[in-house]
Point group: C2
Chain length 106, copies 2
């Protein structure tokens, strides 16, 4: 599996996207803290976090018996630049066409 694929697959689950939203709002949370926000047991949440971690979207720091989870947006940026951008960018030719159309109207 490629890196990109791991990221796309990690983003494909709504619970995982919700976890990223939570970490976006505030970083460095523990598993139990995150667990309290989802309707799911600790084990389910831990599995999702692991998928996110393997995709590089979450990075982890151990502190005593706690595990702190941090958001890493680099992989999202990468699939954005390498793939999504291509489909979302305005095609310059279309803009030129529009410009010509507008000029002809006036």
């Amino acid at each position: 599996m490629t890196d990109d694929d791991r990221v796309f697959k990690a983003l494909a689950d709504p619970s995982r996207r919700f976890l990223l939203d939570l970490l976006f709002a505030r970083d460095g949370r523990t598993l139990t803290e995150l667990e309290s926000e989802l309707e799911m047991t600790r084990f389910g949440v831990a599995k999702h976090l692991r998928v996110l971690e393997e995709a590089g979207l979450v990075v982890v720091r151990r502190s005593g018996r706690e595990k702190l989870h941090y958001l890493n947006s680099v992989p999202i940026r990468q699939i954005h630049d390498r793939w999504i951008d291509k489909f979302t960018e305005q095609h310059i030719t279309a803009l030129i066409d529009l410009k010509r159309t507008l000029e002809e109207e006036s």
Copy 2:
């Protein structure tokens, strides 16, 4: 399942992303034409195209016995604007911090 979720799930499979790449390069292809580019039977490709269609990423036009497939990038743009952008945008405060740092150095 939400619209966004359908799109994320549709993008989660590499064969489907490849199909979108093909349609990006050239639109309006038939099923058999697309099939010839993948190492998969017609049935597999048809299933993938259906998932893409249900996510709104591909739109279809019938012409005689052929089915022509067109790319629609609007849903990609939507998840970009509604979700991805939030994680990829440069945080203005970080830029301000950097600016201050640079100014203090000189």
